[in-house]
């Protein structure tokens, strides 16, 4: 029974048991298999959860049966239990190990286009041989069919010439060419003074830090929908991908006792810049970055970053609209809350409806003046 007058607790326990019975209990092996073989899924969950913990993200995916909103919520809720112990040094792209970096703005760029790991140019053909147990198909799974070089594969014949760990910025070249405004001088700040959207109330207009943080942890699908609507012509921005990067970054923390910096671990990060030449006085830059590798989200997010600066953006591209409605945990949670009983609030509006019907449909009333009634039920 939906609202049991008795036995609600037993009902939810049985319901949860049935959920797990239908998908099998997660095991440690399954969690490790997910972490190793589904890194892009794990990245998406970690990025939206704002918690870099591949093993925990894989556990969340296994535990939720692959329901991504549930997985993100599991990880976010775990994050709520963790105190902030220290602040890492800023991760600057010149110190990251970049494995993929492309620009659509120019045919070639200083440092070169580095395709890196990507399925962009692969043939999207199901490798049905895998179902037959073919090993060859497995080894061939990620090839493009024409043997494109893979930047992450160490070429053992040339151990002394590793790929360049960092690359110059396309935007720097544009700044030196007078196409893009110079970066404003940043005052150095204590990390604790940087606004944090997970620790501060959301107020609008939002500080830029909040906007970039909100985009970093935004729902991939939500950002894509709003970004795509903008690209398709509902917004004012036609984005050009100035630079897209997938990297590994060391997280450097100062030791609380010795004062020495040390690496607390290595994380996957990605960032995107899009440019637009909309106002013809120079290029404008939109930016987004996130934990994990998630290219489609970042291109859409960087576009929205520009869109939200426009004087008269599409209503769906105002800062408040974008930040509130691309929040994965809040959006999904509120949507599914409509499964909760609403009979009290519904009864309250039915009461009005019945009175209005009684007023207008009573025998001596003129029915012609009846207007259609619309009312929002909270």
């Amino acid at each position: 029974m939906y609202v049991a007058t008795k036995g609600g607790e037993a009902a939810i326990q049985e319901s949860e048991k049935l959920f797990h019975a239908l998908k099998g209990q997660p095991t440690r092996d399954l969690v490790h298999a997910i972490a190793e073989s589904l890194p892009y899924l794990v990245d998406r969950v970690m990025g939206e959860a704002s918690l870099y913990a591949p093993e925990l993200a894989a556990l969340a995916i296994a535990q939720s049966g692959g329901d991504l909103y549930e997985a993100v919520l599991l990880l976010r809720a775990y994050r709520s239990t963790q105190p902030r112990l220290a602040y890492a040094s800023p991760v600057t792209p010149d110190k990251t190990l970049t494995v993929r970096r492309i620009s659509a703005a120019f045919k070639d760029i200083p440092g070169g286009q580095v395709l890196g790991p990507s399925l962009d140019y692969s043939h999207r053909i199901l490798k049905l041989e895998i179902l037959d147990g073919s090993d060859r198909a497995v080894s061939d799974l990620h090839s493009n069919g024409h043997n494109a070089p893979d930047a992450t594969t160490v070429d053992e014949s040339k151990p002394d010439s590793p790929a360049s760990p960092s690359y110059p910025f396309v935007a720097d070249w544009q700044r030196s060419a007078g196409l893009l405004a110079a970066l404003p001088v940043q005052e150095s700040r204590q990390p604790a003074d940087i606004p944090d959207v997970t620790r501060d109330p959301a107020l609008f207009p939002a500080p830029r830090e909040h906007r970039l943080q909100a985009l970093a942890r935004a729902d991939t699908g939500g950002v894509l929908a709003l970004g795509y609507a903008s690209m398709r012509g509902y917004g004012l921005i036609h984005p050009t991908v100035n630079e897209l990067r997938l990297s590994h970054a060391e997280i450097e923390v100062t030791h609380p006792v010795t004062g020495e910096p040390f690496s607390a671990g290595r994380v996957r990060v990605s960032q995107a810049e899009v440019v637009t030449s909309g106002d013809k006085t120079g290029l404008s830059l939109g930016f987004a970055a996130t934990l994990g590798w998630n290219e489609v989200k970042l291109i859409a997010a960087a576009t929205l970053d520009l869109e939200m600066n426009q004087a008269e953006p599409h209503p769906a591209h105002t800062e408040e609209f974008v930040m509130y409605h691309t929040e994965p945990v809040e959006a999904s949670g509120f949507c599914i809350h409509f499964k909760l009983p609403h009979y009290v609030t519904f009864a309250s509006s039915l009461d009005n409806l019945r009175k209005v019907i009684a007023t207008y449909y009573s025998a001596n009333e003129d029915n012609a003046e009846l207007e259609p009634m619309t009312q929002r039920t909270p």
């Binding site: 607790e9 319901s15 919520l73 509120f334 909760l340």
Partner: protein, 319 residues
């Protein structure tokens, strides 16, 4: 020095902090709550942490409850009036698991009552806190979607557009159309959404002995109606605010009237009715079966009279 010696210096491992939230989050919530109490009806922004239940399912109320709860607390959780709905059971189970607090369905025994959209029928006391879950804290949202503008409108006490909405409803339908979350003026200063409690419950906030805390987790706002504070639903002086008209509805089991009812559609096309407040109904049923039960005074008596004389105008049938 051995590892064992190091371990002996550390506290035993605890998977979760008391009350789930870490101490910083609880401190923030308590400070914001104090501010909300100090400025009745003012929406205080707060950071709002994620909790292990879905957003929009009571995380705002739950954060406030977790910041209030102690081992001696007695928790009652209701959802649409019911203690036993799955969501209420789930929240109650979580608060108890994280705090060790006792639980009850009897409002007389509770120290903290977390509720989704109902205020119990029995009058709350001074030492009780009512925590209402709020889906949308902004009464101006329907007339102004930009929160920086609604902030200004609240600062200016500019509620003209809400009055206009009420006026348009009267012109078109000869009555107010707002169902639950009826906008109400608190302490003569701020208009609040009292959360989607039915209009039946709105008057219970006026000059109440208990503290009411309203918290919206998704929207990251909390506000309060402190004890003994004026709360008036918006109404024109010649067209009174009206609670739901359920005068002819009687509880199918106990025959009780003039309490807020759930309407239960029957297969033959008719309706049966049941008292919405399940904790109160349980006691009524137990008493009819011969068990002795303790009852508190109710906000509405058996004739439907509100306990504060003169606060509510008589119900009128539509003309």
């Amino acid at each position: 020095m051995t590892t064992t010696a190091l371990e002996s210096l550390a506290l035993p491992r605890e998977d979760y902090a008391y009350g789930f939230l870490d101490a910083f989050a609880k401190r923030e919530l308590r400070r914001r709550t104090l501010k909300a109490i100090a400025i009745p009806g003012y929406q205080v922004p707060y950071a709002s942490r994620e909790l292990p239940i879905a957003r929009g399912w009571g995380t705002g109320g739950l954060q406030v409850s977790l910041s209030l709860v102690g081992p001696e607390s007695v928790i009652k959780v209701i959802d649409q009036g019911s203690d036993d709905s799955v969501n209420a059971a789930n929240l109650r189970r979580f608060i108890t698991r994280m705090s060790g607090a006792a639980t009850t369905t009897d409002v007389l025994e509770a120290t903290i009552i977390q509720s989704r959209h109902r205020i119990p029928e029995e009058v709350l006391r001074e030492e009780q806190a009512l925590v209402l879950q709020v889906p949308d804290p902004e009464p101006l949202r329907a007339v102004q979607s930009d929160s920086s503008k609604t902030h200004q409108m609240h600062a200016d006490s500019d509620y003209s557009q809400l009055w206009l909405v009420l006026y348009e409803q009267l012109v078109r339908y000869k009555q107010y159309l707002q169902g639950a979350s009826y906008p109400s003026l608190v302490n003569g200063r701020y208009v609040i959404s009292p959360s989607p409690i039915p209009r039946w419950d709105t008057p219970k906030l006026h000059q109440a002995a208990h503290l009411t805390l309203l918290s919206a987790g998704r929207e990251k706002r909390l506000y309060a109606v402190p004890p003994y504070t004026d709360v008036y639903p918006l109404e024109f002086s010649d067209v009174p605010f009206q609670v739901e008209d359920q005068r002819t509805w009687a509880d199918a089991v106990t025959g009780v009237v003039n309490k807020f009812m759930n309407e239960i559609p029957q297969v033959d096309g008719t309706s049966a009715y049941e008292v919405s407040d399940s904790g109160y109904l349980d006691k009524l049923v137990a008493q009819q079966q011969g068990e002795r039960q303790a009852f508190g005074a109710t906000y509405y008596d058996d004739e439907g009279n509100f306990y504060k004389d003169g606060y509510l105008k008589a119900l009128v049938r539509p003309q």
